[in-house]
């Protein structure tokens, strides 16, 4: 199991990563500068961020961005965006060098110092930020390494896990025991790269709803099942995905997903957790959990456990059909295709909390133990 890392060692590897980031930024700017000195119109090319430019790599286990690129040549009509992109890169370099970070909103306000190149709206600065992220993802550099952090918070964690959170400035390391939060939980920070773990748990259970997480946590299910509970609260944020990924990679833990049985739970929440999403495929390599597996609720569970259901709505049907037709992930797994078809044929959906029909604690006394006894039956 993972042991506490040497802070100095961690710091060193972080510094190496920072140097790589700065080098990448300087390289990109240098190429623009060179073209200008040659008297040529400079251009930058960004990977195209659409589902059509996504490939599911079965060996690697995540969505990979394809080869399609959009190239932005500096012309009179693109000169504004070009200036903004370069200034945003300059901001990123400054953040790395001062060991600071900026949220999307921060970056938007920073641009107000750029005279005519200031962004009029945050949507503008978000787009430029996404472009830069895509640009450097090709070199294996994530947005977090560029020191742009999401505004949204990560999920919650409870269970048999100790998190080490080093403060490089003071050399102090905070030790966080995730069994010690009583009825509360540990909240995953926006940046997780510097964290390290210690655990004797057997698996990670990633839960869709806060309500289910609450029930399992208050009954200390993690103790009984010897596991770590993570609340995703809907589609998991980047930090949550990265946190689970690190846990799984660094501690060698399997990850099981426990979500609602509906097209949203399956194709959005679970699929994004496992392989990434279409418009963020350039970051999937960092932000997905390829070895995650689907514990439930499965369409078969609805039958086996006689769960109360709701009819599928029009959007659900559309989403399911869309997944079958266009999503490279579901196309790669015939079992999944079969499960979704079954759901469509049944015409119903069931929430994970529907298990409460058989008693409030039925889920932790009966359902989960029964499921966990046969992990080989989990959907891929």
């Amino acid at each position: 199991m993972a042991k506490r890392k040497d802070v100095a060692q961690a710091k060193k590897s972080k510094q190496a990563l920072d140097r790589r980031t700065v080098t990448a930024i300087v390289g990109a700017a240098g190429r623009v500068h060179d073209r200008i000195l040659e008297g040529q119109k400079p251009s930058m090319s960004f990977p195209l961020r659409t589902l059509s430019n996504v490939r599911y790599d079965k060996d690697r286990g995540y969505f990979e961005i394809g080869r399609s690129k959009k190239s932005r040549t500096m012309t009179v009509s693109t000169v504004r965006t070009f200036a903004q992109t370069l200034r945003m890169m300059s901001l990123s370099k400054e953040l790395v060098e001062t060991d600071d970070f900026a949220t999307k909103r921060d970056a938007y306000y920073q641009s107000k110092n750029w005279a005519d190149a200031a962004f009029a709206e945050q949507t503008e600065s978000d787009t430029v930020m996404d472009d830069i992220e895509a640009l450097f993802s090709v070199e294996g550099i994530s947005r977090e390494q560029l020191r742009f952090v999401p505004d949204e918070h990560g999920g919650a964690v409870a269970g048999r896990l100790v998190v080490f959170d080093p403060d490089y400035a003071s050399g102090e390391v905070h030790r966080i025991d995730c069994t010690q939060f009583g009825s509360g939980a540990y909240s995953i920070p926006s940046l997780v790269e510097h964290l390290s773990f210690e655990t004797d748990a057997k698996f990670v259970l990633a839960i869709e709803t806060g309500g289910m997480f609450q029930r399992l946590q208050s009954h200390r299910f993690w103790e009984k099942a010897n596991c770590i509970l993570v609340s995703m609260a809907g589609v998991p944020t980047r930090a949550t995905r990265r946190f689970i990924r690190k846990l799984s990679d660094e501690c060698g833990l399997p990850v099981f997903a426990f979500v609602d049985c509906d097209p949203y739970g399956i194709s959005n929440i679970y699929r994004t957790l496992k392989v990434g999403s279409g418009n963020a495929a350039h970051i999937s390599r960092f932000f997905c959990v390829p070895n995650a597996r689907y514990l439930g609720v499965t369409p078969q569970d609805i039958v086996d456990y006689k769960l109360p259901t709701h009819p599928l709505k029009e959007v659900d049907v559309k989403r399911a059909k869309d997944a079958l037709k266009n999503d490279p992930f579901f196309k790669a797994f015939p079992v999944w295709a079969k499960a979704i078809e079954q759901l469509l044929k049944m015409g119903v959906r069931a929430e994970q909390q529907a298990l409460a029909k058989w008693g409030l604690n039925y889920v932790l006394d009966e359902y989960l133990p029964r499921k966990l006894a046969q992990p080989q039956q989990f959907l891929p």
Partner: protein, 595 residues
């Protein structure tokens, strides 16, 4: 250029309130008919404009003795009127008498318009006379105010003058002139204009027309004071003198004292003078008016327009009455010869064909032909193919000169002009020319100012009833970049100059204010407008493109420095290195703009 009120709109509103003239549109364009229509109307109850009893006019007693009583009153009396009794009342109506009752038909409906019409008739005559005599015109107009509502309008020209014996008739007899019987492009065409103005003056002030005319530098000038005997439509000479040392070397001066109202702005004498100068760039005009400095419009060119040639009437436009009259008056022995001699484009073969179609002997004597035979001829004419009338009789101002005149008088960014080739309506040759000025100081969010001209005379009234307005409204200006709402002229900072030249302009009434909407005329107007419109569209597109380029250039100067800053920050450049990069980049982008 005055452009204070939305002219065309006001004009169209006006036309609705003047149904009399609008109804008369059908009668337009036929000389014979025009004349006839005057008499027809005279017999009808004159309800529209009851004449004020003129105090000092010698014609006063007759005016009160109206030949036709309002129908309503006759009915109320319920006394059966026998034919004998009616016969006792039936008698000749003189044209002059008719005019005193119907002066609105000739443009004297109110004091303000009367002053304008008086000046207009005199100036039109002056220009006509100069051009016919081959003299580069110099016209002086002076309006002097005698009392609140009393003015003297004086117009002097350097034309050929009028021979002594003719002066009384020209100024003292209605329907006396040199232009009515000729098919020739001129401003006057009816032989009413100046004598009507004189008569109006006499009726409202009791003062006679004062004329001084000199037919050559070494000839004596004649001074006349002429009144009109309206009953007999005859001049009455009040004063006749010979002046040996007149101030002018040659020409005519007319002074009419009249009741009027002097106003500036839309449809004023000011505007008429300004537009006349614009449409007659070969003339010099001097203008004095009450309470303002004299104005001079110098000629734009000293080249006189080529002389307008007279043509014979074309058979396709002829009325039955005219045909009858021409044949009765002809001195040819045979009908066929008379047709060849009196009409344009009638060859012996064509004459023979007309006679054959009509089943009338070509050898018949034209003078003794009975009315039935003439009618057969009249009906046969449309079925015979006859060459269109010659069009070299028309004298356009010319696109080049229109544009030059507009450029000289109007501050604008873009000018275009077009002269259409001649066309024909009802056997009468005509042509249309259009000038356009756009931008500059012209007001941007008003309707486009439409300046109408017929044989170089500005038309200030009845815009709504005019073929010109119809042509402007019927053109799709939006495709040329001017906003236009349905059924309206376009709006925008523009002036349209539209001129119709013809040997006979089909006015909708004797006051010569609006051109009748013959389809051929409206079509030519539209074609001319489309021509200048296309060029305006091209100009506006070019200008929009230039503005876009300008904007891009602004982009370059705004954002390139920001790129310089970013590169300097990231690459730790020195200020000099940064400036090199910025300069290079500017160069690259500016070069690429033109590619």
């Amino acid at each position: 250029m005055s452009k204070s009120s939305p002219g065309p709109r006001a004009g169209s509103a006006r036309s609705k309130s003047a149904p009399t003239t609008a109804r008369r549109t059908r009668a337009a364009g036929r000389p014979e008919h025009e004349q006839a229509s005057l008499f027809e109307l005279a017999a009808a109850p004159a309800s529209a404009a009851a004449p004020r009893p003129p105090a000092a006019a010698p014609a006063a007693p007759e005016a009160a003795d109206a030949p036709a009583r309002p129908a309503g009153r006759a009915r109320a009396a319920r006394r059966p009127v026998g034919a004998q009794e009616m016969a006792a009342r039936q008698r000749d109506i003189s044209v002059s008498e008719f005019f005193t009752k119907n002066r609105h038909l000739l443009g004297f409906d109110n004091p303000r318009k009367a002053l304008l019409t008086t000046v207009k008739e005199a100036v039109d005559n002056a220009l006509d006379a100069c051009e016919e005599a081959g003299i580069v015109p110099e016209v002086e107009v002076a309006i002097e105010q005698l009392a609140e509502d009393r003015f003297v309008a004086k117009v002097r020209d350097n034309g050929p003058g009028i021979v002594r014996e003719q002066i009384p008739k020209v100024f003292g007899k209605l329907l006396y002139g040199s232009k009515f019987h000729r098919y020739r492009q001129s401003r006057g065409q009816q032989g009413i204009g100046i004598s009507a103005a004189g008569m109006y003056g006499l009726l409202t002030t009791g003062r006679p027309v004062v004329v001084v005319s000199k037919t050559g530098p070494r000839k004596a000038a004649h001074h006349y004071e002429i009144a009109i005997d309206t009953r007999a439509n005859k001049p009455e000479i009040l004063h006749d003198a010979t002046i040996e040392d007149a101030a002018i070397p040659q020409g005519t001066e007319v002074a009419i004292t009249l009741e009027g109202q002097f106003q500036r702005g839309r449809r004023s004498v000011d505007e008429y003078m300004e537009l006349t100068a614009l449409a007659n760039p070969h003339g010099t005009f001097r203008y004095r008016s009450p309470g303002s400095e004299p104005v001079v419009w110098d000629r734009v060119t000293s080249e006189l327009p080529p002389e307008a040639r007279e043509i014979k009437p074309h058979p396709h436009g002829v009325e039955l009455g005219t045909l009858l009259k021409i044949l009765r008056d002809s001195d040819n022995r045979h009908l066929a010869e008379a047709l060849v001699a009196n009409f344009s484009r009638v060859s012996p073969q064509v004459a023979a064909e007309i006679c054959a179609k009509a089943k009338v002997s070509p050898k018949a004597s034209p003078r003794t032909l009975d009315t039935r035979a003439v009618e057969l001829l009249y009906r046969a004419i449309p079925h015979v193919k006859i060459l269109a009338p010659p069009t070299n009789c028309l004298v356009p101002i010319g696109a080049e000169l229109i544009e030059r005149a507009l450029r000289q008088r109007i501050k604008a960014d873009f000018f275009a002009a077009c002269t259409r080739p001649p066309a024909v309506y009802r056997g009468n040759p005509f042509l249309v020319e259009v000038g356009l000025a756009y931008g500059g100081g012209l007001p941007a969010d008003e309707l486009v100012d439409v300046l109408r001209f017929a044989n170089r005379v500005p038309l200030l009234y009845q815009a709504g009833a005019c073929a010109v307005t119809k042509g402007v409204v019927g053109t799709n200006w939006r495709s040329y970049g001017l906003p236009q709402s349905r059924g309206a002229p376009p709006s925008g900072p523009a002036i349209l100059f539209i001129h119709i030249a013809s040997v006979w302009v089909p006015f909708t009434s004797e006051s010569k204010e609006a051109v009748a909407s013959y389809p051929e005329i409206v079509k030519e107007i539209r074609l001319a407008l489309m021509d200048v419109g296309r060029r305006l569209g091209g100009f506006l597109r070019r200008r929009a493109r230039a503005a876009a380029e300008e904007k891009k250039l602004g982009y370059i100067t705004k954002y390139i420095p920001q790129i310089g800053i970013a590169l300097q920050d990231i690459l730790a450049l020195k200020d000099a290195q940064r400036d090199v990069a910025v300069a290079k980049l500017k160069d690259i982008l500016e070069r690429s703009r033109t590619v």
